[in-house]
């Protein structure tokens, strides 16, 4: 028999199937059941599934629970959430129907582009219940403490730029109509009217519209920097006064159409770029903090993390993210420090052992004495290294503007030279020619080329599941000197899987009974190993949940329970025992071996990368022997294990040095322990290790993020980089050719302004088409 989950459409596991009674609605997991039930109760189910169609929601298996009680602090009427897992129109629909599902909610509105949901309550109160509802629906929320001031300022800035674009476009388009008539030789009163109207209509664009150029140029001058805005401002001002002079002289050769169009295009391309870059940084900014905002003190009261001081005592419970570095003063916990070490091992911590902020409490409860908070924690130090790398990125993007600046500088030099050379003979003619040069050589196409290509690259990448947080990364050198992989979670699945089971049974008929027992026992544990064993067992025919008595969790060791007069234990009795054992009273009945598996498709990707230039390295924090096994299985010669996060970073630095800056070092990693290395690499790529799973929040700051757990995305990404470089080169040549021809014609004084007016949009159009067809990704 086969059955599909009512909610997500996944096939049901054998264990689920056998426990299914007649008339039951099939679900693959309790998560899906909850969502379906919520939708059913709210009367939204029919509509939801019809919008969603075949594009079913993500399965909710193996998603850990979260505690939202911290949000009851907020006594607010509305709150913004960053929502994970939004993927289709049905998500939008159900999230905006939140008021049907919860009586507290008055309304909700989703911004899909930024994945931000604004929820408004009927009356002020807490947001924990609403958060829990969102979580149960399969959309893990992250509260943002109302939109910050800076975000609102950005919105205002955006709107101002849009208005400037609108005004400039208004000027440019109207002037174009007048100019065409003038170029075509209108005479008499009509010509005078057109000339004066042109001057008048140009004013809004040259004052209100072009204001940012003047301002930037002024500040650049003040701090003695060269900025692209300086020549632009000069061209605008000189162009306007020269046009005035021409108009009074009765000439029809005004440059107002060109300069207003220039303002419009430049503003547009800048707006374009700013928006593109902001879209991703805002997403990242939301997740900046991975440490909890509220913690519990020793009396279990919730307090804000910013009120905690060094020396305070905090309570740690299962599922908590440890908020600060410190020492345990009572109790035992099992924690996962994967973010630091890269190992997905569970570590037991007892009295007086130190724990690190950011680790997850998997089992147990303990009191923590705080020793370091926020920036002073180990996690804070790691993040700082990334901040440092962020500023490096800015310098890099400025470099890409240099081309245009150099170009403008030389054009300006030429026009001044021309003015000086011919000015003595005929000032008017020299003025006219140098102006023609300034305007026609103004790198419109050049200014558009980069933003267009970046935007296109961003879109194409997003389509295949690659998020370019910093699109400028595409400007990186296309020659790869080295490709570095993290092992755990990148080359491998990053979670243990059952390799083999050895049974020591006298009566093989008992097998299914024991399997069901283990299954039921492990269902109640949150340990990663338990999850893997459950996954392994639930696909075996006949395995089902059985009732247990006196279930007890032994922190960091295993689970214990009574059944039929026997005491059963699954886990590790002592540190010597390898794998996971299953005991009936004192008799060992089974031994599970678990290990991390190489990701499917890794072999093919590595093979095809080998054909390209650049060595392949594996740097891992994991056990040296395991690293060796995996690397050799994949045929990678360079590998190193047991590396600390800083050591990984320094290895990357060495690689960069040996590359000599002429080729890039690419690093692919998935854990916070890779952060320093990812920041150090020319191209740092964060890898989302499991579908539907959450990326470690701190990794959202890495310039490139692979949203799907597919190594083949690396091939897509490299294809896009290559296409980007090729297209950029082609665009530069197109605009260079246009500018050179235009400039030489302008210098010789033969160019008719009408020709220039037509050629200008034409060159931009060519660049546009070249970009769209040049960057298309792989297999298209």
């Amino acid at each position: 028999m086969v059955a599909e989950c009512t909610h997500c459409g996944d096939l049901l596991s054998q264990a689920r199937l056998t426990s299914l009674k007649d008339g039951d609605v099939p679900y693959c997991c309790s998560g899906c059941q909850t969502v379906h039930q919520i939708l059913l109760d709210g009367g939204l189910d029919r509509r939801f599934y019809s919008i969603q169609g075949k594009n079913r929601g993500p399965s909710l298996k193996n998603i850990p629970t979260r505690d939202f009680s911290a949000l009851d602090f907020e006594d607010a009427i509305q709150m913004d959430f960053f929502i994970e897992g939004i993927h289709c129109t049905a998500c939008l629909w159900v999230l905006e129907k939140l008021s049907d599902l919860s009586p507290e909610v008055k309304g909700s509105r989703l911004d899909m582009g930024r994945s931000i949901l604004r929820v408004v309550r009927h009356e002020p109160g807490g947001f924990s219940k609403i958060s829990q509802l969102l979580f149960d629906l399969g959309y893990p929320p992250h509260a943002i403490r109302s939109e910050s001031e800076s975000a609102e300022r950005l919105v205002a800035q955006d709107q101002l730029t849009l208005k400037r674009i609108g005004i400039s476009a208004f000027s440019a388009m109207n002037i174009m109509v007048y100019s065409f008539s003038l170029y075509l030789g209108v005479e008499g009163t009509l010509a005078t009217v057109f000339r004066s109207l042109s001057l008048l209509v140009a004013l809004p664009a040259l004052t209100y519209g072009a204001w940012p150029f003047y301002r930037n140029a002024f500040f650049a001058l003040k701090s003695k920097r060269i900025s692209m805005d300086l020549p632009i401002s000069l061209a605008l001002i000189v162009g306007f006064f020269e046009s005035c002079r021409q108009a009074f002289l009765g000439s029809n050769l005004l440059y107002l159409d060109s300069i207003t169009m220039l303002v419009t295009l430049l503003l547009l391309s800048r707006y374009f770029l700013a928006r593109l870059e902001r879209a991703e940084t805002s997403k990242a900014g939301v997740l900046h903090a991975i440490l909890p905002e509220a913690v519990r003190d020793s009396e279990r009261h919730l307090i804000r993390i910013d009120r905690v001081k060094v020396g305070d005592h905090l309570l740690l419970r299962v599922g908590d993210t440890i908020p600060a570095d410190g020492i345990l003063i009572s109790g035992n916990v099992a924690v996962n420090e994967a973010f630091l070490t890269g190992e997905s091992q569970t570590i037991s911590k007892g009295m007086l052992s130190s724990v690190l902020a950011g680790s997850q409490v998997l089992e147990g409860e303990a009191l923590l004495k705080v020793e370091a908070l926020q920036e002073n924690t180990r996690l804070g130090q790691l993040s700082r290294q990334v901040d440092h790398a962020d500023s490096v990125t800015t310098i890099r993007s400025e470099k890409s503007d240099r081309w245009a600046t150099i170009f403008m500088g030389s054009v300006m030099g030429f026009s001044i030279l021309m003015l000086a050379l011919f000015g003595r003979d005929d000032l008017g003619e020299a003025m006219k020619r140098s102006l023609a040069l300034l305007i026609i050589a103004c790198p419109c196409a050049l200014a558009l080329a980069t933003p267009l290509a970046l935007a296109r690259g961003y879109r194409v990448a997003a389509r295949s599941g690659i998020l370019l947080r910093d699109p400028q990364i595409l400007n990186q050198c296309v020659q790869m000197h080295a490709r570095v992989f993290d092992k755990t979670g990148t080359l491998t699945q990053g979670k243990p899987e059952v390799q083999s089971v050895q049974w020591f049974l006298e009566n093989p008929a008992m097998l299914v009974g024991y399997q069901s027992l283990i299954y039921s026992l492990e269902l109640q544990s949150k340990h990663p190993y338990a999850g893997s064993i459950v996954q392994f067992l639930e696909n075996i025919v006949g395995v089902q949940e059985v009732p247990l008595e006196a279930v007890e969790e032994k922190v960091g060791r295993g689970m214990e329970a009574n059944r039929g007069g026997h005491r059963y234990f699954i886990g590790r009795k002592d540190a010597e025992f390898s794998g996971v054992g299953f005991w009936e009273d004192q008799t060992l009945l089974a031994q599970f071996r678990l290990s991390d598996q190489v990701r499917t498709g890794a072999q093919e990707v590595i093979e095809s990368l080998k054909n390209d230039q650049g060595e392949i390295y594996v740097f891992s924090g994991d056990d040296a022997e395991i690293v060796q096994n995996i690397s050799q299985a994949l045929g990678i010669k360079n590998f190193e294990g047991e590396l600390l996060p800083e050591e990984k970073a320094s290895r990357i630095r060495d690689l960069k040095k040996s590359g000599g800056g002429k080729s890039s070092v690419l690093m692919l990693g998935d854990g916070i322990n890779d952060l320093p290395a990812l920041a150090e690499a020319d191209i740092g790529i964060a890898f989302n290790r499991s579908m539907g799973g959450t990326l470690d929040a701190a990794l959202v700051r890495v310039p490139v993020i692979f949203l799907k757990p597919k190594l083949s995305l690396l091939l897509d990404f490299e294809a896009i980089i290559k296409q980007f470089h090729f297209t950029m080169k082609r665009n530069l040549w197109i605009s260079f050719f246009y500018n050179l021809t235009g400039a030489s014609l302008a210098v010789s004084g033969v160019i008719h302004p009408l020709v220039a007016a037509i050629a200008m949009p034409l060159s931009s159009m060519t660049v546009f088409i070249s970009t769209v067809f040049g960057i298309r990704g792989r297999n298209v």
Partner: protein, 50 residues
């Protein structure tokens, strides 16, 4: 041809009116979220029936 002297100011006025409309829509935040409304339109109409 003298009709041009009437049409030109009219065209300018019309253009200014458009700029005014554009400013208004910018202030209303119409350009802040360019993705969601295109999807929202799919279901809002049918919702009233159910």
């Amino acid at each position: 041809m003298s009709i041009v002297y009437l049409l030109i100011p009219l065209s300018l006025l019309l253009a200014i009116f458009f700029v005014f409309l554009f400013f208004k829509s910018v202030n209303d935040g119409q350009f802040q979220d360019l993705e969601t409304p295109s999807r929202r339109i799919i279901f809002e109409e049918n919702d009233d029936e159910s």
